[in-house]
């Protein structure tokens, strides 16, 4: 079993560097990290601002997701955080990092972690476009 060093759903600014530093370990030869950043365009429309809303269970679900990845892959350490509340263009909504002994496992585990967060984490993204319209993503 690896070490789950951060699982966080909150409003604070996220940094990929922080999760990378958290998973660094003398046993780890490879660190793969992911930053999912808020873009200024979505499907060709210009985004003015964006907010993520989280269900009260989001923190617990993220902890389950982290445990599942740790069980499926040969992880030295992992760290993952999802932001909620208003997020500025260019800032990160999701950051994740995985360290492993060998690089193939780090890529596979980090990608599976991000995919599982997208699938399971009960959070919702609300976009307001520069033309004044808005949408809840995946529910239009």
């Amino acid at each position: 079993m690896g070490e789950i060093r951060l699982v966080e759903v909150g409003e604070a600014l996220l940094s990929v560097t922080t999760v990378e530093e958290l998973v660094a370990d003398p046993r780890a030869g490879a660190i793969v990290s992911f930053g999912g950043n808020v873009r200024d365009h979505d499907h060709g429309r210009s985004v003015a601002r964006l907010t993520y809303e989280g269900h009260p269970s989001a923190q617990a679900v993220l902890a389950e997701v982290a445990k599942e990845i740790d069980a499926r892959f040969d992880v030295v350490a992992l760290a993952v955080a999802h932001r909620v509340g208003p997020i500025a263009i260019g800032e990160a909504a999701l950051v994740a990092a995985v360290s492993t002994a060998h690089r193939g496992e780090a890529f596979a585990a980090c990608q599976a972690l991000v995919d599982l967060v997208k699938e399971r984490l009960p959070v919702w993204k609300h976009q307001v476009f520069t033309d004044g319209t808005d949408e809840w993503v995946n529910c239009a």
Binding site: G36, E53, H82, A93, L121, C139
Partner: protein, 82 residues
């Protein structure tokens, strides 16, 4: 709220459709509770088919399942994290 009501918590697009974060509807099967919401909030009709449901924090898929008085129903639109 009567003791015979279900407390419905609405999130994201479901909340936007209903216009409230929390509403109360009479207990019944899941199908009955959702039908009551559609009657009371017509904009919810478009959102309902894409939602999933928790009763007292447990996922519920069977429309015939009873949602008891005093329980909590969470209405969750499709997730969009990351």
């Amino acid at each position: 709220m009567g003791a015979e009501d279900v407390e419905v918590h609405l999130f994201a697009a479901a909340r936007a459709a209903v216009g409230e974060s929390v509403v109360h509807v009479p207990a019944g099967t899941l199908a009955e509770v959702l039908a009551a919401l559609e009657d009371g909030y017509p904009a919810f009709v478009a959102v309902r088919p894409r939602c999933s449901f928790l009763v007292d924090e447990v996922a519920v898929h069977d429309p015939g399942m009873a949602v008891a008085a005093g329980s909590r129903l969470d209405v969750l639109p499709p997730f969009a994290g990351g």
